[in-house]
C-alpha cells in the first residue's frame, strides 16, 4: 500500500498571540516556523499504517525553497522520502488551488491508497485543503477521523467525530483522511532520524512536471483575498475577584454579578 502525507509549516503555537498584522499580511515573514502541529498526527498515522500494513510513505509539501522544514520533521520521525512542490506560478495560491496542486502531485506519484493531511493549519485555520484535495482526486473525504478501524480488501473503515457522537464510515480506497488529535500520539524524532533529516535532499516538482496550467493557480486563479487585517480587541477591564468572609458570601456575590450581566 502507498501512503502520502501532506505537510506544511506554521508559526509556533506559543507565538501566535504575538503575531503582528504585518507578519500575517506578509505570509509569516520573520516568524519562527515549525511543522503545523496537526500534521504530526498525519505523519504518525502514515507511519503506523506502513508499519502495520507494509508499503511506502511519502511526504509532500507545497512551498518555495526554504520551506522544507515540515518535510524534515517527517523524515526525522521516520518517513523515508519527501518531495517539495513549487513553481513561481504557484505564489499567491488560495487554499483550493493548494488542494489542486497537491492532487496533481499525488497523481504523479501514482497508485496511492491513503492521503493524510492535518485537520487544519494553525495560521490559516481553513481546513479547506483536504476538501479541495479529495474533490480534485475524486477520492472519499474522511475528515475528523479519530480512529482507523480496519483497512484492507480495497476498503477502509474509520470512526469520525461528528456533533452527535462517533460516526462509523466505510469507503473504498483511495481516500483522503484528516485526523483529529485523538487518533494517535505522534512519536518523537529519533537521534538517527534527526541526523538523516539534516542531510536530506528533496526532489522538487514544478508546474510542468505536474501538468498544471499556471493560470489556474497562483494569485491569478485565487477566488478570495484576505484584507483589512487587525488584532482582535483586547478584553476590557480587569478581573473582579470575589471577596468575603465565607465561601457562601463569595459565591452569592458571584451569582449576583452573573445575574446582573444577564448570562444566567
Amino acid at each position: 500500500m502507498k501512503y502520502i502525507v501532506c505537510v506544511t509549516q506554521s508559526p509556533d503555537t506559543a507565538e501566535l498571540p504575538k503575531v503582528t498584522v504585518d507578519q500575517a499580511e506578509s505570509g509569516n515573514q520573520g516568524l519562527e516556523l515549525i511543522t503545523n502541529p496537526w500534521d504530526e498526527y498525519a505523519i504518525e498515522e502514515g507511519l503506523r499504517l506502513k508499519e502495520k500494513q507494509g508499503g511506502s510513505v511519502l511526504a509532500i509539501t507545497v512551498g518555495p525553497a526554504g520551506t522544507e522544514g515540515a518535510l524534515k520533521s517527517a523524515v526525522a520521525m521516520g518517513v523515508p522520502k519527501g518531495v517539495r512542490v513549487w513553481d513561481d506560478a504557484f505564489a499567491g495560491s488560495d487554499a483550493l488551488a493548494i488542494g489542486r496542486i497537491l492532487a496533481a502531485a499525488v497523481r504523479k506519484e501514482g497508485d496511492y491508497d491513503v492521503v493524510l493531511t492535518g485537520k487544519t493549519t494553525v495560521d490559516g485555520n481553513g481546513a479547506l485543503v483536504p476538501v479541495a484535495l479529495a474533490s480534485a482526486l475524486g477520492a472519499a473525504l474522511l475528515s475528523q477521523v479519530a480512529k482507523i478501524v480496519a483497512i484492507g480488501d480495497g476498503k477502509i473503515t474509520v470512526e469520525r467525530l461528528v456533533e452527535e457522537g462517533r460516526e462509523k464510515v466505510t469507503a473504498d480506497l483511495p481516500v483522503v483522511i484528516a485526523p483529529v488529535k485523538e487518533i494517535n500520539e505522534p512519536r518523537y524524532a529519533s537521534f538517527m532520524g534527526i541526523r538523516k533529516a539534516s542531510r536530506a535532499k528533496f526532489d522538487v516538482w514544478d508546474a510542468a512536471a505536474l501538468g498544471i496550467n499556471a493560470g489556474s493557480v497562483g494569485a491569478a486563479g485565487a477566488k478570495v483575498a484576505w484584507g483589512n487585517l487587525s488584532k482582535p480587541p483586547a478584553r476590557e477591564g480587569s478581573v473582579v475577584l470575589m471577596e468575603g468572609e465565607t465561601v457562601e458570601e463569595k459565591v452569592t456575590k458571584l451569582v449576583d454579578a452573573l445575574m446582573a450581566e444577564k448570562v444566567i
Binding site: 500575517a24 483550493l96 485555520n125 469507503a171 488529535k181 477566488k223 477591564g237 478581573v239 448570562v263
Partner: protein
C-alpha cells in the same frame, strides 16, 4: 437573484446555527432585493422544510431520496450546487458544523467559487459579501472578499442570534431533482454511536463549565457536571484533563479542541494557557475558579474566585439551586 442557506438536519433535528445563518441571510436577501432560499436534503425532509419557512425562508428546495438519508459530503455538495444554480444564488451559506464546513468547501471547490470558512461575521459592501474570519487561531482578524460571482461561506455557531419563529408563515416548496446526486457518494455510514441524550453540545451552548488539571482525576468532573446540570450548560475541559484520560476528547476546548463562544464560560482548575484561551477567549463573560492568584486565566476573566474548586464549585451549585 437569491441568497441560499443549507439547512442541516440529522434525523429531522436542525442545529441552531442553520437558523442563525438563515436569519442573517434574510437581511442580505432584503438588501439585495432578492429571495431568501433554503436547501434541505435527506430521505424525509417535509417537516424541516416547514420549519425553514417558519424561520423566514421564501423558497425551500427539498431534495429527497434514500441515497441522501445519511449525510455524505459528495452527494450533498451536488444537490446544494444544483439548488444554488436553480435559485440563481450569489451567496451560499452553511452553518460551520463538522458537516457544514466540509460541505461549503466542497461546493466551492466543485464550482470554482470562493469560500470563507468558519466566518464569525458577515456583511455586504457594495452588494458583495465580506466575511470576517479569525485566523492565527483567534489572534488576527481578517476580512475575506471574493473574486467569484457566487460567494460561499460557512459560519461559526452563535455568530448571529436565533431569528424569531413564525409558525404560520408559508413559502414555495420546490422539489429538487435528487438524481443529480446519484452515484456521487464515496462512503457508507455504518452507524453513529450517539452521545448520551441530554448532553449539551459545546459549540451550541450558552454556558460552558470546564475543568482542567485542577480537578485531579475523572471523579473530579462530578462537581463540574453538577454545576453544568443546574445551569443547562455544556461540559468542557482543558487538554491536560483530556490527555490524562479523565474525560473524552470531544470535550476539549482550545486550539486542538473545539472553539466555543458562550455567554458564560466558567473555568475551574484551568491555568489559562494560550492554547486553551484560543478556544474560549471570545466568550462574553469568563469566570475563573483557581487556587493560584497568579494563574494567567485571571488576566482574561471578568470574575474570579481564588480558592479550591472542590469547595467553591459545589457551593456555587448549591447557591444556584437555592435561587431556582
Amino acid at each position: 437573484m437569491s441568497v441560499l442557506v443549507w439547512i442541516e438536519q440529522y434525523k429531522g433535528h436542525v442545529p441552531n446555527v442553520s437558523w442563525e445563518v438563515l436569519g442573517k441571510a434574510k437581511e442580505f436577501a432584503g438588501a439585495l432585493d432578492g429571495t431568501l432560499a433554503a436547501v434541505v436534503a435527506g430521505d424525509n425532509v417535509a417537516a424541516v422544510a416547514q420549519e425553514a419557512f417558519a424561520y423566514g425562508a421564501d423558497k425551500v428546495y427539498a431534495y429527497e431520496s434514500a441515497e441522501l438519508a445519511d449525510f455524505r459530503v459528495e452527494p450533498y455538495a451536488k444537490v446544494v450546487s444544483d439548488a444554488a444554480k436553480t435559485a440563481g444564488a450569489t451567496i451560499v451559506l452553511a452553518g460551520g458544523t463538522t458537516r457544514g464546513r466540509d460541505l461549503a468547501a466542497y461546493v466551492a471547490t466543485l464550482n470554482g467559487w470562493g469560500i470563507a470558512p468558519d466566518a464569525t461575521g458577515l456583511s455586504l459592501v457594495d452588494g458583495k459579501l465580506v466575511a470576517r474570519r479569525e485566523v492565527y487561531t483567534g489572534n488576527i482578524l481578517a476580512d475575506v472578499t471574493f473574486h467569484s460571482d457566487v460567494q460561499v461561506a460557512s459560519v461559526r455557531g452563535r455568530s448571529f442570534s436565533l431569528p424569531e419563529k413564525d409558525g404560520g408563515k408559508q413559502g414555495e416548496l420546490i422539489s429538487g431533482d435528487a438524481a443529480v446526486a446519484e452515484g456521487a457518494a464515496k462512503s457508507v455510514v455504518e452507524g453513529v454511536s450517539e452521545k448520551e441524550s441530554g448532553e449539551v453540545s459545546l459549540t451550541d451552548a450558552n454556558i460552558v463549565v470546564s475543568g482542567g488539571r485542577g480537578v485531579k482525576g475523572p471523579e473530579g468532573f462530578a462537581p463540574i457536571r453538577e454545576l453544568a446540570a443546574v445551569l443547562g450548560a455544556a461540559v468542557g475541559a482543558s487538554r491536560a484533563a483530556v490527555d490524562a484520560g479523565w474525560i473524552p476528547y470531544d470535550h476539549q476546548v482550545g486550539q486542538t479542541g473545539k472553539t466555543v463562544r458562550p455567554d458564560l464560560y466558567i473555568a475551574n482548575g484551568i491555568s489559562g494557557a494560550i492554547q486553551h484561551l484560543a478556544g474560549m477567549g471570545s466568550s462574553k463573560v469568563i469566570v475563573a475558579i483557581n487556587k493560584d492568584p497568579d494563574a494567567p486565566i485571571f488576566q482574561v476573566a471578568n470574575y474570579g474566585i481564588v480558592g479550591d474548586l472542590f469547595t467553591y464549585v459545589p457551593a456555587l451549585t448549591a447557591e444556584l439551586k437555592k435561587r431556582g
